[in-house]
Amino acid sequence: MTIIDETADIPAPRGSEDHTGPLLEVRDLHVEFHTRDGVAKAVNGVNYSVDAGETLAVLGESGSGKSVTAQAVMGILDMPPGRIPKGEILFRGQDMLKMSGEERRKIRGRRIAMIFQDALSSLNPVLSVGYQLGEMFRVHEGLSKKEAKAKAIEMMDRVKIPAAAARVNDYPHQFSGGMRQRIMIAMALALEPDLIIADEPTTALDVTVQAQVMDLLAELQREYHMGLILITHDLGVVADVADKIAVMYAGRIVERAPVHELYKRPAHPYTKGLLDSIPRLDQKGQELYAIKGLPPNLTRIPSGCAFNPRCPQAQDICRTDIPPLHGVTEQDGTELPGRASACHFWKETIHG
């Protein structure tokens, strides 16, 4: 067994570092994959930041690059075929892309942890959950097997798994979907990281269990004062927990806004279309609004604005010029804090 950091450089207590900016900042990140059919540009210049204790939701359809961005932050991108030609990922002011593998490994798991979507395939079926949970403590902190198991039981209690001491030697298949996701959360929280990236943490779960898991996650986040990046395609889940939202389309952020603002007044036609196309529980509508067409193929992203073939407002300029992320203002020019939209016609979209 390799003990990664047996040296005494235990991370300094939170907040004592001189760095004052955001916890994590992604700057102009590009990721591409070299495939047989050409270069797939999965991420094309993404910028976002998360502060401690804040929840950023990254919203997008499959293929929008939301998971790839997270994998790049975590440093678990398959390279090759993946490549990061450009960009910076600053964690507490330090660029992680310039760090050595050794330095990154110290951050991964301990400072930034990830919760994956499918708990059944993320857990190893032939090892007991206690062993897998304990691995965090054995590898990162060099605890003995016995101590690690005691810690594993403590973590399972933390995420409210009933009879944790009795179930610590059970295997993943003996747990229900919701319980398995709790184990994933326990694993991510084990070393009390500063930032958690949750990639579709509740997509595979039933609604009643989904509510339990999201509540647990929110509670633990408050308790540990962690930053949380929540990656999802579900506009409903986002509305319940996020502070701010970044909407992604074809590898770019097309709109950024605080959660209330986004739902009230979307400033990008894609966001607007998404909001109109979901059926509501409390209203029985007529025909659903549907965004026509399909998400673009990443090897052949349309020129200009990537959304232009599907956009009801598209004009000639949309087919030629890539819209930058404009700051969004009120009609009288007052700036709306935290809002931005990558649309040439954001004024028309937001102010109708």
Partner: protein, 382 residues
């Protein structure tokens, strides 16, 4: 043809379930004739009575000993009317997909009856069963695994014609398939392409076209949009609604997404552990739920509106669904219910209009299988 009507006491308590008019067919030809007879709009086309499906649990390899049964579906009754959409919702493991398979006769029911136009499908065989199967088609959940990757789209959509050649004569098939592609909004020139050349939403359209090929009267949709992206989901839902009007179809729409079920359904049934907990029109279920499980389920649905999240009461259930191999005694929901009392452990609540709402002209007066049914609006912000 003699018509017998069957009534038993139980049916009277259930306004949702109408009397079954059993068509007495002595020969196969009579049965086929009954199956091919048209049904008026608003008349029941499919009537399910006390349907049960138990999967045996066995031990041993050579001498298999039955040690129990997974009670996947344990006595459910409902009607499907011509031209309507009946939504069935429930958590995973509640038996909703088993119901779909039973309706399709892909699984043999352990007990109970499924009447299609007065014919008990579970007892049919031969030509009559084939005629029923032509009229009840299915759209599956996963558009990636439900299409054979080695067949072209034309072969996939045209395959039903091999089994039922009377629908489309041989020389006419290509044209029929192209017509179907056009109906579901795909380019008819795609007929020679393979499934991998399509996106998820397009594949689901192919699955729908295959379901439509034989001009069925009923389509059973098992989670038809849950594998699709949000922006594509709306396209497929709109397509399904359009097809329903165009071809006069009846849908059984099985899903776990309550918002989508509300959008598409005329009536909704809520299932829990193999039983129907509550059934009624969409307004009755969503705006006036009386069963605690329905209330919990509805309150857990995230609403895409941060303003609404503050005003809503959320009921968060503890624990997981019990195993259907060993369901709790009495009411199956009692282990997770906040209203549970001694009575719930002893008596199985019947699916009927609760006593306190009987004779009351209110949307709350619909069938709910709870001893302590009470109206509670959990969907709208207080």
């Amino acid at each position: 043809m003699a018509e017998l009507s069957k009534t038993d006491g139980q049916d009277e308590a259930m306004p949702n379930v109408s009397e079954v008019e059993v068509v007495d067919a002595h020969t196969e030809a009579e049965a086929v004739a009954a199956i091919e007879a048209p049904v008026e709009r608003g008349e029941p086309i499919l009537q399910v009575r006390d349907l049960v499906k138990h999967f045996p649990l066995t031990q041993g390899i050579l001498f298999k000993k039955k040690i129990g049964a997974v009670k996947a579906v344990d006595g459910i009754s409902f009607d499907l009317y011509q031209g309507e959409t009946l939504g069935i919702v429930g958590e995973s493991g509640c038996g909703k997909s088993t119901v779909a398979k039973l309706l399709m006769n892909l699984e043999r029911a352990t007990a109970g009856e499924i009447f299609y136009k007065g014919q008990d499908v579970t007892r049919l065989s031969g030509r009559a069963l084939k005629a029923v199967r032509r009229n009840i088609q299915m759209v599956f959940q996963d558009p990636y695994t439900s299409l054979n990757p080695r067949m072209t789209v034309g072969d996939i959509i045209g395959e039903p014609f091999d089994i039922h050649p009377e629908v489309a004569p041989k020389g006419d098939r290509r044209r029929r398939v192209q017509e179907l592609l056009d109906v579901v909004g795909l380019n008819p020139e795609y007929i020679n392409r393979y499934p991998h050349q399509f996106s998820g939403g397009q594949r689901q359209r192919i699955g729908i076209a295959r379901g439509l090929a034989l001009n069925p009267e009923i389509i059973i949709c098992d989670e038809p949009v849950s594998a699709l992206d949000v922006s594509v989901q709306a396209q497929v839902i709109n397509l399904m609604e359009r097809l329903q009007d165009e071809f006069n179809l009846s849908y059984v729409f099985i899903a776990h997404d309550l918002s989508i079920v509300r959008h598409i359904s005329d009536r909704v049934g809520v299932m829990y552990l193999g039983k129907m907990a509550e059934i009624g029109t969409d307004t009755q279920i969503y705006d006036h739920p009386t069963h605690p499980y329905t209330q919990a389920l509805l309150s857990a649905v995230p609403v895409p509106d941060p303003e609404a999240r503050e005003g809503r009461e959320r009921i968060i259930l503890t624990g997981d669904v019990p195993s259907p191999a060993d369901p709790p005694s009495g009411c199956r929901f009692r282990t997770r219910c906040w209203k549970a009392q001694d009575k719930c452990a002893e008596e199985v609540p019947l699916l009927a209009v609760p006593e306190r709402f009987q004779g009351v002209d209110s949307p709350a007066a619909h069938e709910s299988a709870c001893h302590f049914a009470e109206e509670k609006d959990v969907v709208h912000a207080a």
